[in-house]
């Protein structure tokens, strides 16, 4: 898929997805920045990370290769990965 999305658009879409799967931490996710830590700040444990990746794969139509629950520590790292995959 070759849809060109800006970094901000990816960030907003990522925020929406994180809210959908982790409604309990809506406020934290809404105020998140690229440096927000996924585990410590948003509370995405290992299952949460796997679920996030599954939903991201469907939403962005990309495949996350060699990615583990400890691969991404911040929101920015996820955006970097998606950006690289989309380009």
């Amino acid at each position: 898929m070759s849809v060109k999305l800006s970094r901000q658009e990816i960030f907003e879409k990522l925020q929406d997805i994180m809210i959908a799967i982790n409604e309990d931490d809506r406020e934290k996710i809404e105020s998140a920045t690229e440096s927000t830590r996924l585990v410590e700040d948003i509370g995405l444990a290992s299952v949460g990370m796997l679920y996030l990746v599954i939903v991201l794969e469907e939403s962005f139509q990309i495949k996350f290769d060699d990615v583990g629950t400890a691969t991404f520590d911040t929101v920015g790292k996820v955006i970097d990965y998606i950006e690289a995959k989309l380009s």
Binding site: L44, V47, L50, I54, D66
Partner: protein
Amino acid sequence: MNKTIMEKSKKSRKRGYFLYDFGKITAVIPCLLWYRMKRLYASPEAKKKIKGGAILISNHSGNVDPIAIMTAVWYRRHHFIATKELFEGKLKRCMFEIFHCIEIDRDNVDMNTFRTIVDHLKGGKLVSMFPEGHMTHTEEVQKFKSGMVLMAFTAKKPIVPMYIKKRKSLWQRQVVVLGEPIDPADMLGKMPSLADMYKVAAYLHEQERALKAIADQH
């Protein structure tokens, strides 16, 4: 590390079931004599044989629980999820690979391992695991991790709970209780939240405790 696990896992998948079946047939008589298995069922529905892809979950109080599970559900090939630490050493790795165990890195569960498990389930295989995440050495059922719910939900396959009662002495018969299959996809919407998945894991934990209550009466 994950890449290594993936490569080893691919190698393992290529391995056939000849040695697995040979080992199983060889162990039948010793296991029957050793356990003198007493199977109990939570309901008539639970008595039905497990067919197709499914996750079999159980409490984990001792080293030989996998053998008890294989003896109790003898008619299926089991694919146990085992931590990478258990694969350390050539002999252990060889044994775990013969028995088609799926290696998992608890500290960094990678998508390839997750996909392997989901592929197994979609391919009609039985994946067996201990959702407490470690050996407990106790009769109490400890809190379940929710990874199994995500696996079953993604593959759209049921989870079958089972309880293994700890034997007080070797002269006692081994009591196991099987519960009804529970399909997380029936309990969750199209895109459930993590909180919903935790609720399903908690529900499965309740079911496991109900199985324990049945086992305690015998």
